[in-house]
């Protein structure tokens, strides 16, 4: 190990600080939206459920985070029962792009 490495090795605290700042910024941002997704899921279920029969187990609400836009993807499986229009496929997909 060179002398340079010996001195360089000592300052690990700034690396710890930077790693924590990045990690916690991510984890804190995760806190709000995970609640948001829960609320969205419940409200979307209530609205869709008024018009078609749905199985709450077969609903997925996801948020894909991108640099410029994030995509909210709502996937609701609608069984082909009396009230659902026939021949339209099993799934209806809605994608919203928040500004």
């Amino acid at each position: 190990m060179s002398l340079f490495n010996f001195f360089k090795r000592r300052s690990s605290a700034p690396i710890a600080r930077d790693r924590l700042q990045i990690l916690l910024a991510y984890e804190r941002s995760g806190r709000g939206p995970s609640d948001l997704l829960f609320v969205l899921r419940e409200e979307i279920l209530a609205v869709v459920g008024r018009h078609v029969e749905i199985n709450p187990e077969r609903v997925s609400v996801q948020m894909d985070r991108g640099d410029k836009v994030s995509i909210l993807e709502v996937e609701i499986e609608v069984p082909n029962t009396v009230r659902a229009a026939p021949g339209r496929g099993r799934k209806r997909r809605a994608a919203l792009r928040p500004a």
Partner: protein, 271 residues
């Protein structure tokens, strides 16, 4: 007006029990009536750190289940009777502690003590959430180390969501207690500095407890560090923190252990 304080951290082994014992003792040494409660059902240790392990007859769960009266379960400290301990159960299932049980005990303790200090178990499970549930204020114990700081951040989020005060839209006052701090290593860039930790957690500082042999020595002997060696660095840090809790304005320092001439000549003493 009694204050209920939770001592919490998320991560284990950072000094919650040591700090509960030392701050409880320090407040009592300043003339306050203090009760410390161990919430770590199944893994109680506050009794051992305070040197009362052989005096435990009834515990917290016995009281909540009506097996014993609160006065029977409380252990008065032999060195200072203004300080009392309510031990956790060592044998029961941790689910034996209920929210209603905890509430009734804390409500009763509020009437006779100035300070009710709840020593939280590690983790974010039931024991930890019950320990913080009725708290007016929280002390977050943090080591200057990445996993401890991360867990503290998580616990701060939970304090803002799951306490009765938070649910009522009120504030749980939060204080950061940095323990096992080594100023020399921080100065050399080997350890997160106090400024780093404060910047990351954005929580007001209650005190800085230096890394010290005196903490292990005190727990070996079953005495809060403020009783065992009141002049040691950690003891002085805890005394200052206790005065800040009481609302005094105390200059923030990092008290170091003072070595006498004997200590300097002969090095470490056996604990």
């Amino acid at each position: 007006m009694a204050k209920v304080i939770v001592v919490t951290s998320g991560k284990g082994g950072v000094g919650k029990t040591t700090s509960t014992a030392a701050l409880g003792a320090a407040l009592a040494q300043f003339g306050q009536n203090v009760v410390v409660i161990d919430f770590d059902v199944g893994l109680r240790n506050l009794d051992l750190v305070m040197g009362a392990e052989r005096r435990v007859v009834y515990d917290f769960i016995n009281v909540t289940q009506g097996v014993a009266k609160l006065s029977q379960a409380l252990i008065r400290d032999k060195r200072l009777d203004r300080l009392a301990l309510l031990p956790a159960s060592q044998t029961r299932d941790k689910d034996a502690l209920t929210e209603e049980g905890v509430q009734s005990v804390i409500t009763a303790l509020r009437k006779t003590f100035d300070w009710v200090i709840c020593d939280s178990p590690a983790g974010i499970e039931r024991g930890a959430t019950l320990a913080m549930r009725f708290a007016d204020e929280a002390i977050i114990v943090t080591n200057p180390e990445v996993s401890s700081v991360r867990d503290s951040d998580r616990i701060i989020g939970i304090l803002d969501a799951k306490t009765v005060r938070a649910e009522r839209g009120e504030r749980v006052a939060k204080h950061l207690l940095v323990t096992r701090y080594d100023q020399a290593r921080a100065a050399r860039g080997e350890m997160l500095t106090i400024e780093d930790v404060l910047e990351i957690l954005s929580t007001p500082l209650l005190g800085i407890v230096p890394e010290s042999q005196e903490v292990l020595r005190a727990s070996n002997l079953g005495a809060p560090v403020t009783f065992n060696n009141a002049n040691s660095g950690p003891a002085r840090a805890y005394f200052d923190a206790a005065r800040r809790l009481m609302g005094e304005d105390v200059e923030m320092t990092i008290p170091a252990d003072k070595q006498g001439l004997f200590g300097k000549l002969f090095g470490r003493r056996a604990a």
